[in-house]
C-alpha cells in the first residue's frame, strides 16, 4: 500500500475513530474529551483531503479495492475507493463543513445532556458520507447512502422525548426507504445486466446497456436503470414527491440541519447522478424526468418558504428549492454546474443554518420569526454573516451563489431536451421567489421593530402536531425585558469561516470547474447535449460574467424579490396580512404544503394500517385460523362426537352392526364377482 493509499484510508477512518471513542467511551472521556477526539478526527480528515486534493491536481487519480466484501455467482462485491476530482471536491466540502459544524456544536449543544452522543453521531455521519463519496462501486455507495440515512434518523430524533421529533425521524427514514426501494432495483438491474457493480466496469459497458431492452417488461434498459437510480436520489435529495421528510427533519438540533439536511447528505443524490453521468447521458427520457422533477421542486418548494414563520423552516424550504436547481442542472446535462452549485450551496446554506442556529441561541430557543426583529444590533457577527449568506443564496453578482445559479439558468436556457421550457420558467421565477423569502426572513429577523420579549411562550411550529408539549430545555424564548445576545466565539468563528467561501468560492472556481479541465474524464456529457460547451465559448472570466450578470433577467428578478420583501416587511407590514386574508384558499394551500402530508398520512400510512388489520383479522385469524385450522379441529371433534355414539358398550348393538356389515360386504362380493 502506498503512502497515498494509506492517506485515503485515513480520511474516513479518522472520523470513525472519533465517533467510536465518543460513542462507546463518552462517559469515560467526558464532554471535553468527546469534542476533542471528534474534532481531531474530522480535522485529520480535512487535512488529509487537502493533501489528496493537491495530489489529484497533479493528475494522480486512484481506483482500487480495499477489501473484497463477498463473491457470489459471477459478481465480486468490494469495498474500494475512487479518488478523482469529483471525489476530492466532495471530500473537501464534507470534511470542511463537518469541521465547522463540530466546532459550532460545542457552543450550540453546550447544555445538552446528550453532548457526547451528539458528537459521536456527527462524526459517524462524516465517516458515512466520506465512504459514500469515495466509493468506487454501487454497493459501497448504497452502504454510505443508508448509513447517512441512519445517522440522519438518529439525529432528527435526537431529542427523543419530543413527539414531533420521533415522528419526523421515522417519517424521514421511511420516505427515504421509498427512494431506496427504487435505488436498490436500479442497482439490481445494473448487477443483472452489466454483471458488475464496479463503476468503471459498468461505465465501460454503458453503450451495451443502452442497446438493450429489459426482459419481461420490455422497457429500454438504460432508461429503467437511470429512473430507478434517480428515485433513490429523489428520496435522499428530497425531490417532489419524496420531499416531505426534509421540512420535518428540522426537529433535529440545528447543527445537523446545517451539516446533514443542507450541506452534505441531501446533496448525495445530486452527487450520485453526477457520478453516473455516463449512464444518464444515454437516456433522454430519464434526463427529462430528472429535469421536470427538479424544476417542480425548485419552484413549488420555494413558494412554501414564503409562508413559514419558523426560521429554520424557511431555510429548509430554501434548501429544497436549491436542491431542485441542482437537479434541474442534472436534467440538462450540466452535471458540473450541478456539482458546482452543490459546493457553493454547501457553504452558504451551512452558513445560513448555523446563522439561524445562532439566532435561536440568542433568542433562547425561540424559532418564531414573528418574535424577532432588530437583531442586527445585538448579534453583529451573526447578522453580517447571515446577510452575506443571503446574498449568496439569491445569486447576487460576485457572490458564490451567483456563479453557480446563473450557470444553471444559462444551461437550462441552452438546453433543447423536452421539459426545458418549463424548467426555464421555474428556475427564473424561482429566483424571484428565493430572493423574496430569503429577504423576508432577513428583514423579519434582523431589522424592523424589536418584537422579542413581548410575546413570551408563544411558539408556533406549523407542523401537524400542535399537541406537542413544550419541553423544559427547548423553546423558552426571551422573557420580557431580556435582550438577545451574540453567541460565543465557537459559534461565530464557524460563521465567519463559512462566510468567506460563501462570498469568494464561486469567483475562483467557476472557470476550472465549469469550463476547464477539472472534471475531464469524470463527468461525461454526450455530444448531443451541448449546453455547457456553448456557454464556455461565451465565458470571458468571472469578472466579466458578474458584470454581465447585472444586466440579465435573473439579477433583476432577484432585486425585485428583495425589493418586494423590503416593501412588505419593512415599509408596509399590513400588506402581507391583507393578502393573506384576500387569498385565503391559496394561503391555506401553501400553509398545508399542498396537502402532501395529509395525503400520505391518510392514504399510505392509514391505508397500510387498514390493509394490515384486514389481512390479520380477516386472513390470518378469520380464514386460516378460524376456518382452516380451528375448523379442522372442530371437524375432528364433531366426528368424534358422532362416532362416540356408536361406542355404546352394549354387546347386542355391536353384534347387530357386525351382521349388517357382513351382509353389505357379502352383497358387494357377490355382485362384483
Amino acid at each position: 500500500m502506498t503512502d497515498m493509499q494509506k492517506l485515503y484510508l485515513l480520511v474516513p477512518l479518522a472520523p470513525l475513530a472519533g465517533a467510536l471513542l465518543a460513542g462507546l467511551f463518552g462517559k469515560l472521556i467526558g464532554r471535553a474529551g468527546a469534542h476533542i477526539v471528534t474534532i481531531l478526527g474530522v480535522a485529520v480528515a480535512l487535512a488529509a483531503s487537502v493533501v489528496i486534493y493537491q495530489d489529484v491536481q497533479t493528475g494522480n487519480t486512484f481506483n482500487g479495492t480495499v477489501y473484497t466484501w463477498m463473491t457470489t455467482g459471477n459478481l465480486t462485491l468490494e469495498v474500494g475507493f475512487l479518488i478523482d476530482s469529483l471525489t476530492v471536491m466532495m471530500m473537501l466540502v464534507v470534511s470542511f463543513v463537518s469541521l465547522m459544524v463540530h466546532i459550532y456544536t460545542i457552543g450550540y449543544m453546550h447544555d445538552d445532556p446528550g453532548y457526547q452522543r451528539f458528537f459521536s453521531y456527527i462524526s459517524l455521519f462524516t465517516f458515512s458520507m466520506l465512504m459514500l463519496v469515495m466509493s468506487n462501486n454501487f454497493l459501497q455507495l448504497f452502504f454510505g447512502w443508508e448509513a447517512v440515512g441512519l445517522v440522519s434518523y438518529l439525529l432528527i430524533g435526537f431529542w427523543y422525548e419530543r413527539p414531533t421529533a420521533i415522528y419526523a425521524n421515522l417519517k424521514a427514514f421511511l420516505v427515504n426507504r421509498v427512494g431506496d426501494f427504487g435505488f436498490l432495483l436500479g442497482i439490481g438491474l445494473i448487477a443483472a445486466y452489466a454483471g458488475s457493480l464496479d463503476y468503471a466496469e459498468v461505465f465501460a459497458k454503458a453503450g451495451e446497456l443502452a442497446a438493450q431492452d429489459m426482459a419481461v417488461t420490455g422497457w429500454p434498459l438504460i432508461t429503467a436503470i437511470c429512473i430507478c437510480l434517480f428515485i433513490g436520489a429523489m428520496g435522499k435529495s428530497a425531490q417532489v414527491p419524496l420531499h416531505v421528510w426534509l421540512p420535518d427533519s428540522m426537529e433535529g438540533p440545528t447543527p445537523i440541519s446545517a451539516l446533514i439536511h443542507a450541506a452534505t447528505m441531501v446533496t448525495a443524490g445530486i452527487f450520485m447522478v453526477a457520478r453516473m453521468s455516463p449512464l444518464f447521458e444515454l437516456s433522454d427520457v430519464a434526463l427529462s424526468f430528472v429535469l421536470v422533477i427538479g424544476a417542480t421542486t425548485a419552484l413549488f418548494m420555494g413558494f412554501l418558504g414564503i409562508v413559514q414563520n419558523d426560521i429554520k423552516r424557511v431555510v429548509a424550504y430554501s434548501t429544497l428549492s436549491q436542491l431542485g436547481y441542482m437537479t434541474v442542472a442534472l436534467g440538462v446535462s450540466a452535471y458540473s454546474a450541478a456539482v458546482f452549485h452543490l459546493m457553493t450551496h454547501a457553504f452558504f446554506k451551512a452558513l445560513l443554518f448555523l446563522g439561524a442556529g445562532s439566532v435561536i441561541i440568542g433568542m433562547h430557543h425561540d424559532q418564531d420569526m414573528r418574535n424577532m426583529g432588530g437583531l442586527w444590533k445585538y448579534m453583529p457577527v451573526t447578522w453580517f454573516t447571515s446577510l452575506l449568506g443571503s446574498l449568496a443564496l439569491i445569486g447576487f453578482p460576485f457572490f458564490a451563489g451567483f456563479y453557480s445559479k446563473d450557470s444553471i439558468i444559462e444551461a437550462v436556457h441552452a438546453s433543447t431536451i423536452p421539459g426545458a421550457g418549463y424548467a426555464l420558467f421555474c428556475v427564473l421565477f424561482g429566483v424571484f421567489i428565493t430572493a423574496f423569502y430569503s429577504f423576508r426572513m432577513y428583514f423579519l429577523v434582523f431589522h424592523g421593530k424589536e418584537r422579542f420579549g413581548a410575546n413570551h411562550g408563544h411558539h408556533d411550529h406549523h407542523g401537524d402536531h400542535e399537541d406537542e408539549e413544550p419541553s423544559a430545555d427547548h423553546h423558552h424564548g426571551l422573557a420580557p425585558g431580556q435582550k438577545p445576545h451574540e453567541s460565543p466565539w465557537v459559534v461565530t468563528l464557524p460563521l465567519v469561516l463559512l462566510a468567506i467561501p460563501s462570498v469568494v468560492i464561486g469567483f475562483f472556481t467557476i472557470e476550472p470547474m465549469l469550463f476547464g479541465e477539472w472534471f475531464k474524464g469524470v463527468i461525461h456529457v454526450g455530444a448531443n447535449h451541448v449546453g455547457l460547451s456553448e456557454m464556455a465559448e461565451n465565458f470571458h472570466g468571472p469578472v466579466a460574467m458578474a458584470i454581465h450578470g447585472l444586466q440579465t433577467a435573473p439579477f433583476w428578478l432577484a432585486m425585485g424579490g428583495v425589493g418586494l420583501a423590503w416593501f412588505f416587511y419593512m415599509v408596509r407590514p399590513d400588506i402581507p396580512a391583507a393578502i393573506q386574508r384576500t387569498f385565503r384558499p391559496l394561503h391555506a394551500l401553501l400553509e398545508n404544503k399542498y396537502f402532501f402530508d395529509r395525503f400520505n398520512e391518510i392514504v399510505f400510512a392509514g391505508g397500510s394500517r387498514q390493509l394490515g388489520k384486514g389481512l390479520w383479522k380477516g386472513g390470518d385469524q378469520g380464514l386460516i385460523d378460524g376456518i382452516a385450522v380451528n375448523g379442522t379441529a372442530r371437524l375432528v371433534g364433531w366426528v368424534a362426537q358422532i362416532s362416540r355414539l356408536f361406542q355404546t358398550g352394549h354387546l347386542y348393538q355391536y353384534a347387530f352392526a357386525m351382521i349388517i356389515g357382513v351382509f353389505i360386504l357379502l352383497t358387494f362380493w357377490f355382485n362384483l364377482g
Partner: protein, 493 residues
C-alpha cells in the same frame, strides 16, 4: 476421513451433556445445573469449530462423513456428513445454544435442570438433522427435535401455552407424516436404500416427482413457515419462554428451509422447476402480506414473529429462482436471521423480564432509563430492517439482486420489504423506546446487567461482522450451491 468424528461429537456432546444436566435433578442443584449446562454448551460449540476450520470449500462433496450400520435389515445407516449448505447451520446452532443458556441463567427459576437439558438435547438433535445423510436418521432427528421444543413451550411458556404447544405440535407433526410416506416410497424406488445421496441420482417420472414434491412441501412449508401454514408460529412465539423463541426463530425455522435444499430440489428437480412459480408466489405473499400484518401487531413478540415469517419468505424466494446469487442470498439470510431474530427475541426478553408485558402500549421512553439496552436494540432493529453494514442487509440484498436477474416484477415485490421491514420494526422501536416515559414501571427500569450485556454484545458483534465482511460465510457455500444448481438444472425424466 481421518481425525475425530466431529459431527458425532456435535450431536452427542450436547445430548449426553443434556442428560447429565438432567441428572442433577431438582432445583436444589440449580446452580450446578446452570454451570454444567454452560460447560456443555461451550464444549458443544468448540467441537463444531473444526467443521469450519478444516472445511474444504473447494469441493461440493460431503465432508466429515461417518457411516455405520444402524438397522442392517432395512439398510438403515448412521450416516453423517456436511457440505457447504449445511455446515454453517451446525455452527450457528451450537452458538445459539450458548446464548440460550446465558439468557435463561437467572430468568428460569423452576425446573432449571430440565430446562437446560431440553435445550441442550434439542441442540444435539438439530445438529443431527443438519448432518444426517440417511433418511430414517434424518426423520428420527426431525421428529425427535419437536419433543423438547414442545416441552419448553408447554412447561415454561406463558398463560396460553397449552393451546400454543398443541397447535405447534399437531401442525408440524401432520406435515411430516406425509413426508414419511414419501421417504418410504423413495426407499422402494431406490431399491432398498435410505441414502439421501443415492436418491439425488434416482430417476423419477413427473407424476411421482410431483407427489413427492407436495409431500415434502407440506412438511417443510409448515416448518419454515410459509404462508398459509404459518399461523402456529406467532402463537408459539408468544407463549414460548425467551430461550424457546430464540431457538425457534434462529434454528427451528431453518430446518424446513434446509429440507427444501437437501430433499425437494435435488430429489425431484423437475417438479421443483415446475412448481417454482407457485413457490415464488407464496414467498412473495409471505414477504408482503405478512409485512402488512406485522405492521399492526400490538404484541412485540407477535410482531417479531411475523417479521420472521416475512424474512423467511426471502429464503424460499431465493431457493426457487435457481440462480447462484439468489440461493446463496437465501442461505446468508438464514444465518443472518438466526442472529437477528435471536437477538430481537432476546431484547424483548430483556424487557419482558422486567415488565412482564409484551404489549407495545405498556412501554414508551425506555431509552431514557436503559440507554445501553437502547443502543443494542437499535442495532438489532436496524438489522431487522435490513440496514447495510448489518447482517440483515446481506441476504436481502443478494436475493433482490437474484430476483432482478430472474424477473423484474418479482424483484419489485420483494424490494417492498425495504419499506415494510423498516416500517414495522422502527415503528415498534419508536413506540417502545422513544417518547416520554410512559408510566411508573418504565421509570423504574434498570439498564442491562453484565450477563445481558454479554449475550447482546456477542450477537451485536456477529451481526456487524457478517454485515461488514460476509466473505467467509459465502466462501464455504460456493461449491455446494453451484453443484446443487447444476444438479437441479438436469432433468430426471
Amino acid at each position: 476421513m481421518t481425525g475425530l468424528p466431529f459431527l458425532s461429537l456435535a450431536i452427542w456432546v450436547p445430548i449426553l451433556g443434556g442428560l447429565l444436566v438432567l441428572a442433577t435433578g431438582s432445583d436444589r442443584n440449580a446452580p450446578l445445573a446452570r454451570f454444567l449446562a454452560m460447560l456443555v454448551a461451550i464444549a458443544g460449540f468448540l467441537v463444531t469449530l473444526p467443521l469450519y476450520s478444516q472445511f474444504d470449500a473447494s469441493t461440493s462433496a460431503m465432508q466429515f462423513v461417518e457411516i455405520l450400520p444402524w438397522i442392517p435389515r432395512f439398510n438403515i445407516n448412521y450416516h453423517l456428513g456436511v457440505d457447504g449448505i449445511s455446515v454453517l447451520f451446525i455452527l450457528l446452532n451450537a452458538f445459539i445454544t450458548i446464548m440460550v443458556v446465558i439468557a435463561g441463567w437467572q430468568v428460569i427459576r423452576e425446573k432449571v435442570a430440565q430446562y437446560m437439558a431440553a435445550f441442550l438435547i434439542m441442540s444435539g438433535l438439530m445438529n443431527g438433522i443438519f448432518s444426517a445423510l440417511d433418511a430414517v436418521l434424518f426423520y428420527t432427528f426431525f421428529e425427535a427435535s419437536l419433543i423438547p421444543l414442545y416441552l419448553v413451550i408447554g412447561i415454561w411458556g406463558g398463560a396460553n401455552r397449552v393451546y400454543a404447544a398443541i397447535k405447534f405440535f399437531l401442525y408440524t407433526l401432520l406435515g411430516s407424516l406425509l413426508m414419511l410416506i414419501a421417504l418410504l416410497y423413495l426407499f422402494m424406488e431406490a431399491g432398498g436404500s435410505f441414502n439421501i445421496l443415492d436418491w439425488h441420482q434416482l430417476p423419477l417420472g413427473m407424476g411421482p416427482q410431483t407427489l413427492i414434491f407436495w409431500a415434502f412441501l407440506i412438511a417443510f412449508a409448515v416448518k419454515v413457515p410459509m404462508w398459509p401454514v404459518h399461523t402456529w408460529l406467532p402463537d408459539a412465539h408468544v407463549e414460548a419462554p425467551t430461550g424457546g423463541s430464540v431457538v425457534l426463530a434462529a434454528i427451528a425455522l431453518k430446518l424446513g428451509a434446509y429440507g427444501f435444499l437437501r430433499f425437494s430440489l435435488p430429489i425431484v428437480p423437475d417438479a421443483a422447476q415446475a412448481m417454482a412459480p407457485m413457490m415464488i408466489a407464496l414467498s412473495l405473499i409471505a414477504v408482503i402480506y405478512i409485512g402488512f400484518v406485522a405492521l399492526v401487531q400490538t404484541d412485540m413478540k407477535k410482531l417479531v414473529a411475523y417479521s420472521s415469517i416475512s424474512h423467511m419468505g426471502f429464503v424460499t424466494l431465493g431457493f426457487f429462482m435457481f440462480n447462484t446469487i439468489g440461493l446463496e442470498g437465501a442461505l446468508v439470510q438464514m444465518i443472518s436471521h438466526g442472529f437477528v431474530s435471536g437477538a430481537m427475541f432476546l431484547c424483548i426478553g430483556v424487557l419482558y423480564d422486567r415488565m412482564h408485558s409484551r404489549n407495545i402500549a405498556d412501554y414508551g421512553g425506555v431509552v431514557k432509563v436503559m440507554p445501553k439496552f437502547a443502543a443494542f436494540f437499535m442495532l438489532f432493529a436496524m438489522a431487522n430492517a435490513g440496514l447495510p453494514g448489518t447482517s440483515g442487509f446481506v441476504g436481502e440484498f443478494m436475493v433482490v439482486l437474484g430476483a432482478v436477474q430472474f424477473n423484474f416484477w418479482v424483484a419489485f415485490g420483494a424490494a417492498i420489504t425495504l419499506i415494510l421491514g423498516a416500517a414495522y420494526t422502527l415503528w415498534m422501536y419508536k413506540r417502545v423506546m422513544f417518547g416520554v416515559i410512559g408510566n411508573n414501571h418504565v421509570a423504574q427500569l434498570n439498564d442491562i446487567d453484565g450477563r445481558e450485556f454479554a449475550f447482546l454484545g456477542v450477537l451485536a458483534l456477529c451481526v456487524l461482522a457478517m454485515g461488514l465482511y460476509p466473505y467467509p460465510f459465502t466462501e464455504v457455500m460456493h461449491a455446494s450451491v453451484n453443484e446443487l444448481l447444476r444438479h437441479v438444472a438436469v432433468s430426471k425424466l
